[in-house]
Symmetry: C2
Subunit: 596 residues, 2 copies
């Protein structure tokens, strides 16, 4: 096992000491489970991640996915990795027994997946998109679709993608032009070009199931005229097996700075590379209702967004552990006042500034993991909590926290990777060490599945105000409960006060901006709102961890020290943001193009 | 000309409107110069940078410097570029006429060099290190050394390096082990391994002059036992021309995340690859006095450090201009409230959050350039100001500002490159656009020529206290002069007050920490000190620019808006740092290895 992938001790702290996931086993759905089955699952993931994913993380970066003119060539280890993942039943880990699943709680499934993400972010794209695709079909597909397409995806035989963007339509999905033409048999023929399709073409498994956004002939303009289609790479024959090639052609690959093991594809639908059934167009089937494809796709998108947050966290986490090991084994320099002839060089972890960098990384990585596992538990609560109130609150919190769970780790765990390079010094800038790859790989996460800018507007322009502000109120209640717990705690009450003051400030500025009749003005600083909101939420998450970490073990002491670091050096970053938001600062808004 | 390299308009603003470099022409050394000769120099640099340096920036990244077993292979364009640079007389631009120079002021020379750095950071390593090497010989070498080695470097025929680090000795030069053995003829033979040697081996020009730190047999331990040696790649023959190979062998290249056009070499001295004159060892000559090599090397290091700051700035600047052009030409999305059927997509520069990102980049890039040109002017003042007081103050300010001029752009212009990617969205993550390379290239700058951590300790542990705090007092005087100018200015007085409050805070905490008898404690947060100090200095630099930019031109309005942005969103970042410093926060210091 490579102890630099993730920390088993931290995971056990989060799952069992903090989140008490064992309590989930009292719910009927999880009644076959207990800590032993959870641990067995996590042990399996750690082992497979180490042996089958970490083994080719660098190789797949060096030998990038390659377009050979017809298909994509990948290093052989990717096929071995995803096959092992599928054979272990992990694509369906959380699904019903009836679907071949293990009925594991989401929080355990996601913890297990974090091992793979930390070991090899690129190779994880294949199973990750497949599971999200199959989950969408479970929610919005017909029974036939579930049996014909979702089931083989859960079995690890088929793979899935999401096809949203087009060359001219990235963040602005309203501009999608791909057309879907109805056929007499109830199917559709699709024509158009899709871009940025991760894992869009390859020779893994038996089939690739594309979920494609397109417009029907009578579609209204904009986002309310987008429908969702299931378009398989190979059409199923009479025997139910993948046969004839559908008219989907790989037009090229994007060559990226990082995540080079994931082929990022331009796909042409219906341009005549193939003529399935002798007719033009890529053959597909409508998923859900006409013109309501974006809402259905958001089912997958929201899962993908939390997945991106977990990915960013996992990469930041392994970068932190790599830096930690380096700092413990690299001798360099002397402590102040120890420079004489008999002085011995110290390991660089002895230098306060190196410890500062490691503490910051620990805050980002462990804070991000705690936040993401908290969100995963909300999914479990939303689905399986015994009382409706808990389920409803979980739904609200999840909606609100999705942009935070996506964006906060994407921002701070990239910073963590940068600090991991810095701890390594010049060595960290070379390709002999993995930290430079982590830094490149992780830089993707603030971009895809909605940029930072998009999530800022989602949070301030929609989420905090939705349903009369119910979600935001639910979060404030949760935080208030935590604050009550520390009100009389000798060590933690000052942190509680610090958090309460900022939370009050956030609430005030939220009311003000939501009520502002000038949306342009109110939303102009939504990025600062997202950043301040995220830091507040993570401060709360750290306070929660500090409450639990009240013992004398090294792990507990480390948690408390990291929390102390967050409250001393990180949380105050929000103060000026809240001030500028309250002042409705218009510096960016009033800047003119010609003044640049 | 590629308008995305640097902004000629900004450069003219900084040089002529703000710094009044034309006034330098009244000094005897520059009396042949005037704005026309300066502009001709800058125009030449812009043209050569565009035609000969920018042309292969991507190619040299893709076709990385390669070790073929004996030497380094580079793309052919590098040889053309450095030859053109040398033939134009630019290595010696600031030197005496007697040395073939143009006697240009440093501030003009550095501005010209910024064009090359922005066009191609990697290729610039060759002339940059050569000039710094030759400058060291001018200061510390013998007349023979100047004639035999410095002169051909200034002529662009020889190249230079600095050889400090060894595999086990990066930041901690006290650990250097390379040995220098005296010979009967007054020369020395060197034995040892050097690492991280940029441009350490190649086939450009006629010779490579290595400046090497090594220990004499009787050397005391630590940094007071290091001497400096001149060790040419080829020994000069009786005809004065490079002939026999010296015993310096390329052992390998580091493969880096960025700056791949610069070969980063491991060099073996005296391991027997060659036997010059039939004797073992690499033949060299002592530069300066025995055991005082580090002080001499710091001559080159300080130049290199300000050079690193200028490099980081230039790369951040061109990344900003690339993002600006992209934002002006990429349509995507609608403005709030403009989403109906007749709505037209806007260029993304219309989105407030994109303008926020561009404003931040503008602040970092233009602020960094202004800071670095200010430092270059201090070099001119130190050397050529008519009165001793000005010369002395310039020397003090330069000593104090060197860690800031190195570190501030290295931190913030990497952040600027990240924002440039973000403005590009998914495209920015691909290698079809240059911004991802800028991001990778620029990540080197916080590492080499002293890491952030090293400069924090240099600033707080040495520079602010040196000579009874004279340098810090000189800086405060300068800033006070600026603050007086804005005291009654309707638009700028609030910025002046904001800066004064923080400056007072910095002065208080500086006094406190310098007086602290516990150096370990006092220096534990020196990174925060460096960051706060840097942001204060750059706030001052922005206020200076705002004072000058009082007109109605787009350029002046843009300067004022960027300054406003810096004061609203950037300067307040120092508040918590100053608070934590004053509290002598010990979170990092008291963290224990086993708690991680």
């Amino acid at each position: 096992m490579d102890s630099r992938i993730l920390s088993r001790a931290d995971i056990e702290f989060l799952l069992y000491e903090w989140l008490d996931v064992e309590a989930l086993c009292r719910r009927p759905r999880f009644s076959d489970h207990n800590r032993d089955t959870f641990d067995a699952m996590l042990g399996l993931c750690e082992r497979l991640a180490t042996e089958k994913f970490a083994n080719h993380n660098r190789k797949a970066d060096q030998e990038e996915a390659r377009f050979n003119g017809t298909t994509v060539e990948l290093v052989a280890e990717i096929a071995e990795a995803v096959a092992a993942y599928g054979e272990a039943g992990l694509v369906a880990a959380g699904q019903d027994y009836a679907l071949g699943g293990m009925q594991l709680p989401m929080v355990v499934e996601k913890t297990g997946f974090a091992w793979f993400l930390a070991a090899n972010m690129s190779t994880c794209s294949f199973p990750f998109l497949t599971a999200a695709n199959a989950n969408l079909l479970l929610a919005h597909g017909t029974q036939d679709m579930i049996e014909l397409y979702a089931r083989p995806m859960f079995e690890g035989r088929y793979y899935g993608t999401m096809c949203l963007s087009e060359p001219h339509a990235g963040s602005s999905l309203a501009e999608i032009r791909t057309r879907a033409v109805p056929q007499p048999d109830g199917s559709y023929r699709l024509f158009g070009n899709k871009m940025w399709i991760s894992a869009g073409e390859h020779e893994l498994g038996e089939n690739i199931i594309h979920l494609v956004l397109a417009r029907l002939p009578d579609a209204p303009a904009g986002v309310k005229g987008i429908s969702l289609f299931l378009v398989p790479r190979r059409l199923l024959g009479a025997d139910g097996k993948p046969g004839e090639r559908n008219d989907i052609a790989l037009a090229g690959l994007n060559h990226k700075m990082g995540t080079r093991g994931t082929p990022n594809c331009l796909l042409n639908f219906g341009e005549g590379a193939f003529t399935p059934g002798g007719l033009p167009g890529a053959k597909g089937w409508l998923v859900g209702k006409p013109h309501q494809g974006l809402a259905a796709m958001f089912h997958m998108m929201n899962e993908a967004r939390i997945g991106v947050g977990l990915t960013a966290t996992a990469v930041g986490y392994t970068a932190y552990l790599h830096a930690l090991e380096y700092a413990r084994t690299r001798p360099q320099g002397y402590l102040p006042g120890h420079r004489g002839r008999d002085a011995k060089q110290v390991m660089i972890i002895e230098h306060a500034d190196v410890r500062r960098m490691l503490l910051a990384q620990k805050c980002y990585a462990e804070g991000g993991l705690a936040l993401n596992l908290y969100c995963a538990l909300l999914v479990d609560d939303q689905r399986t909590a015994p009382d409706e109130g808990t389920r409803e609150t979980a739904r609200l919190l999840l909606e609100l926290l999705t942009p935070v769970a996506k964006s906060w780790p994407s921002q701070w765990c990239v910073e963590g990777c940068s600090l991991a390079i810095q701890v390594h010094g010049g060595y960290g800038y070379t390709r002999d060490y993995l930290v430079e790859q982590f830094y490149r790989d992780n830089r993707l996460n603030p971009i895809h599945e909605g940029t930072h800018g998009v999530h800022g507007i989602d949070l301030l322009g929609r989420k905090v105000a939705m349903e009369g502000g119910a979600a935001f109120a639910a979060l404030r209640d949760r935080i208030a409960t935590t604050l009550e717990k520390v009100a009389n705690d000798e060590q933690l009450s000052s942190h509680g006060k610090a958090l309460r003051a900022r939370l009050d400030g956030l609430a005030t500025v939220t009311r003000q901006l939501v009520a502002d009749p000038d949306a342009t003005r109110a939303l102009a600083n939504s990025n600062a709102y997202l950043e301040a909101f995220g830091h507040l939420v993570v401060a709360w998450i750290w306070l929660e961890q500090m409450i639990v970490a009240c013992g004398d073990s090294d792990l507990h002491r480390g948690k408390r020290q990291a929390g102390r670091y967050f409250f001393a050096w990180e949380l105050p970053k929000v103060d000026n943001m809240l001030e500028r938001l309250a002042a409705v600062d218009d510096t960016a808004l009033s800047m003119q193009d010609r003044w640049f």
